[in-house]
């Protein structure tokens, strides 16, 4: 199915996605969106792993992706729980308002 | 090749058309059955026995005034019902509607849009996306009832997906570890239907299916006594129609899945003897059609059961719903899984 595409394109693609995610984390203020950008980063990694797995004809790359998914789910659960707790306390989730700890 | 493409196209059209038609007539049957259960007559004006009622309803839906709330997000408001409908229709594509048949030229056609080897997962995938339609619709309405309805719907669907998935895993173990629907159905051909091995699993699946399709007694997302119309409070005209329609399509598809998973799909008892008796040989298109008939009958029965349940049982309270989903069905399904593993081990179907 994938004949004729260089692995470099996949490297490039996931790098770009990864960087977009990273920029999002750095540039956005809204906690939820920051969180989503992290998910984007993880997905870039997943894509890369699957591409390499196809390249090496090796299933372990794909299996690794499962673990990443599990971890991502766990992280999101915890993160959103914390977010909703913060929301309960301050009625906002802007990282701006989260500056009670001085920098 | 061309013939194959045309054939697939036709199957697609048939399946979608069938889904829509069944959905439409489900509304009629819903009303008719509810009337029967309540000592009433039900629709009987449009056409004989009110058979044209769905058409009239549809027409009415189309010609109603379209109202889009001012402050809502227009795009999302339209996207919601469309997505819900889309996902509802997509599920039909992996269901094997009948035995595959062979033409004289020797090529085999299956009564199925596509037979992917991870059909069960595909189903779950599509079902899980189905939540988006409701959520987006409810949210875009900018109405608190709609929002509450949407949140209820999504949390309910997500919650019950868990138990459902686990009960299906047990089923997959029973049916020899395949994720392809056609194979699951096929392996019930020779033996007995899976319901024999999976009574508890079926029960769980059935309850979850009720919840997944937002049917009573789990129709909290649209419970009118609390939430006016639930997630589609702000919807009118055909967009409302899409929501209602999609719900019936979901019901149809989940009935089909239940029939395929637990009741042998297009198989029926003594099918082979019956075919021999009327003189049909394997691969005949008539076998497929008769099988489809059997399948369809089962589906209709299930749809009726859905409705029957609706008009019998009162609606759950929200906490009861969650309690049932997480504290009863989930452990039960795990128990079922455990039992299944033990049983299948002794049946010799799995090895460690």
């Amino acid at each position: 199915m994938i004949n004729g595409i260089s692995i470099n394109y996949y490297l490039l693609l996931s790098t770009v996605l990864f960087i977009i995610g990273a920029i999002g984390v750095m540039a956005r203020r809204n906690s939820i969106i920051i969180f989503m950008c992290i998910e984007l980063m993880l997905n870039a990694v997943n894509l890369l792993l699957v591409a390499f797995s196809t390249l090496h004809h090796d299933a372990s790359g794909q299996v690794f992706v499962f673990f990443i998914m599990a971890v991502a789910a766990a992280e999101v659960a915890v993160g959103l729980a914390i977010l909703s707790m913060i929301y309960r306390n301050v009625k906002s989730i802007d990282t701006n308002l989260l500056s009670n700890l001085k920098n | 090749m061309i013939a194959f493409v045309i054939y697939k196209f036709i199957v697609c059209v048939i399946v979608f058309g069938l889904s829509l038609a069944v959905a439409a007539y489900s509304t009629w049957w819903e009303r008719k059955l509810s009337a029967l259960l309540q000592d009433r007559v039900g629709p009987n004006r449009a056409g004989p026995f009110g058979l044209l009622q769905p058409l009239a309803d549809g027409g009415k839906m189309f010609f109603k005034e379209e109202i889009i709330p001012n402050v809502s997000n227009r795009f999302l408001f339209v996207l919601g019902p469309s997505l819900f409908m889309l996902t509802a229709l997509m599920t039909g594509s992996v269901i094997p509607w009948g035995k595959s048949f062979t033409t004289d030229s020797g090529s085999t056609y299956s009564f199925q849009i596509t037979d992917i080897n991870i059909g069960v997962l595909y189903l779950f995938g599509v079902v899980s996306i189905g939540v988006y339609g409701i959520m987006i619709g409810g949210w875009a309405s900018n109405n608190k009832y709609a929002l509450l309805g949407a949140i209820r719907a999504s949390s309910q669907m997500i919650s019950y997906e868990v138990a459902m998935g686990i009960s299906v895993i047990a089923l997959i173990i029973t049916s020899g570890g395949t994720l392809s629907l056609s194979e699951i159905v096929e392996q019930q051909d020779a033996g007995v239907a899976n319901i024999v091995w999976q009574p508890l699993g079926f029960l769980i699946f059935f309850i979850c299916a009720l919840a997944e399709t937002n049917r009573a007694p789990f129709d909290l997302p649209e419970c009118e006594s609390e939430l006016v119309g639930g997630y589609h409070t702000e919807y009118s005209s055909m967009k409302l129609g899409l929501f209602l329609f999609a719900e019936y399509i979901n019901m149809f598809i989940s009935s089909a899945i239940m029939a395929a998973f637990y009741f042998g799909g297009y198989n029926f008892p003594w099918a082979h003897e019956f075919y021999q008796w009327i003189g049909l040989h394997d691969g005949s298109v008539w076998i497929s059609i008769i099988g489809f008939g059997a399948f369809f009958t089962k589906i209709c029965i299930f749809i009726s059961v859905f409705m029957w349940v609706r008009w019998t049982l009162p609606r759950f309270r929200y906490d009861q719903l969650m309690h049932l989903g997480w504290k009863i069905l989930l452990p039960l399904s795990l128990l079922n899984l455990a039992i299944t593993v033990v049983v299948e081990y002794f049946r010799g179907n799995i090895h460690f």
């Binding site: 969180f35 989260l98 700890l101 | -």
Partner: protein, 463 residues
């Protein structure tokens, strides 16, 4: 390995305590369990250099066991210290379970032999800590700490994973041994992105140990989290992360050291400067300790930077971890008890010598140890690091380390000065539980003891 299983079992057991109503018994059970895990862990010591479990996913070699030992010992003290902390909280059981799960992750990090176990170990360790950091539900600072920690932790995980993916892409395996052999066999022909992967993993690990310039989350998180959780973060987590770094970079990527040493040297230099000078400016004790932990991280990284894998370097990082962990437990134990009234400023320590001479003495010892003054263990820790470093080409770092250590002494002494010389208007003794006092005393004694006979560690963990 058995230790790891026991700790996981304890975690599950802790969750059952609520149901079967043995909450009161939980702490003794956990302590006992840790001791048993400790013992069983060392039972494996007699085996060969490395026993691997589960098709080479995890292998408790001696290094792993030694680090596990440190982690378990620290955890043991921590649990005693946390005694009354647990009592006042309504979610006791959950706290227990989460801490134990974090320990499982930490133990995995000491013994992983595969990138999968590395990643999972980090996450198993981090996720409970995110929660624990945020566990003061009503306190917005705690919430915020938890969230920041989570965001930064996941961000770092992203980098770690990208690095792992790139390395997998080059070497075709997640197995550390295979990656190492790949490095040796393909010394010349490795694709460029392999190096990038190594650097990204380095960056991610530096995030985890909060080395500058990836440290910015640490002070906030340390300050916001409940004090005892901060103690846990700065001891167990640090130790585990260093065990991981040690294994990754001294065992796995040793062959490509020319790639990462430069970056690491920069990171260390930055950490030393930023951490020590920032710490000197803090008035919040927890924040100060956070910065101090960054500087200690830099010290431990120096051993990695030396990239000499022999007894000395392993001893060095081991000893440093132990000294730092134990000293931190003592320090945090005091900080926890002193700041119970909510005042986390340095002036909370005013006149502590008058109020609680014993506690003040322990704190003094802890501070002297962290500052690295003989004959406390902190001194030997620094000494070992210097010894390891001196043979390398990064001597300038050593000079920097010396200069910044002197700055470090400045802020540790600030605490001592506050305790002994600042007056307090109402000198009321701080209430402290007997068990807490015991832990603080014991850890202080250990700090001195292993400072007097540092050889004992090397003797015990003979490789």
């Amino acid at each position: 390995m058995k230790g790891l299983l026991i700790i996981s079992g304890l975690g599950v057991l802790a969750m059952l305590a609520e149901i079967f109503k043995f909450k009161k018994l939980l702490l003794p059970i956990v302590l006992l369990g840790i001791v048993v895990a400790y013992a069983l862990n060392f039972m494996e010591w007699t085996h060969d250099y490395s026993i691997s479990y589960f098709t080479n996913m995890i292998a408790f070699d001696r290094m792993g066991i030694a680090f596990s030992g440190i982690i378990l010992a620290t955890a043991f003290f921590w649990f005693i210290l946390a005694n009354d902390y647990f009592e006042e909280d309504s979610n006791v059981v959950d706290h227990f379970a989460l801490v134990l799960f974090a320990l499982v992750g930490a133990l995995m990090l000491t013994a992983f032999t595969n990138m999968t176990t590395l990643f999972l170990g980090i996450e198993i360790m981090s996720i409970p800590l995110y929660v624990l950091a945020a566990s003061q539900k009503k306190d917005i600072r705690s919430n915020e700490a938890g969230f920041k920690y989570l965001i930064m932790g996941s961000f770092a995980s992203g980098f770690l994973l990208f690095g792992i993916a790139l390395i997998y892409g080059a070497s075709g395996s997640f197995d550390l041994a295979q990656i190492t052999s790949y490095i040796t066999t393909h010394a010349s022909g490795m694709p460029m992105f392999f190096y990038v992967g190594v650097i990204m993993i380095l960056v991610a690990m530096c995030f985890k140990v909060s080395a500058a310039p990836f440290h910015f989350w640490a002070p906030d998180v340390y300050e916001g989290s409940p004090t005892l959780i901060t103690a846990l973060m700065s001891t167990v987590v640090k130790t585990a992360a260093f065990a991981a770094i040690m294994r990754l970079f001294l065992v796995g990527f040793s062959g490509v050291s020319e790639v990462w040493t430069g970056v690491l040297a920069g990171i260390i230099a930055l950490s030393l400067i930023i951490a020590n000078f920032s710490a000197a400016m803090q008035t919040n004790v927890k924040r100060m300790l956070a910065y101090s932990s960054i500087s200690h991280a830099a010290f431990m990284l120096m051993v990695v930077l030396a990239n000499i894998r022999n007894n000395i370097s392993v001893d060095a990082i081991l000893y440093y971890s132990l000294a730092y962990s134990i000293g931190s437990i003592a320090a945090f134990g005091v900080v926890y008890n002193v700041t119970k009234n909510g005042n986390e400023n340095l002036n909370a320590f005013n006149g502590l010598a008058k109020r609680n001479p014993g506690m003040a003495l322990c704190m003094t010892i802890a501070m002297l140890s962290l500052a690295g003054i003989p004959v406390t263990s902190g001194f030997f820790a620094k000494y070992f690091v210097f010894t390891t470093m001196i043979g390398t080409s990064h001597k300038w770092l050593l000079i920097l380390a010396v200069i910044t250590s002197a700055v470090g002494a400045y802020y540790y002494l600030k605490v001592i000065i506050a305790m002994y010389f600042k007056k307090l208007d109402t000198p009321e003794p701080v209430q402290i539980e007997r068990s807490n006092m015991m832990v603080i005393t014991l850890t202080s004694v250990i700090v001195i003891a292993i400072g007097i006979v540092p050889g004992i560690i090397a003797e015990i963990f003979r490789f």
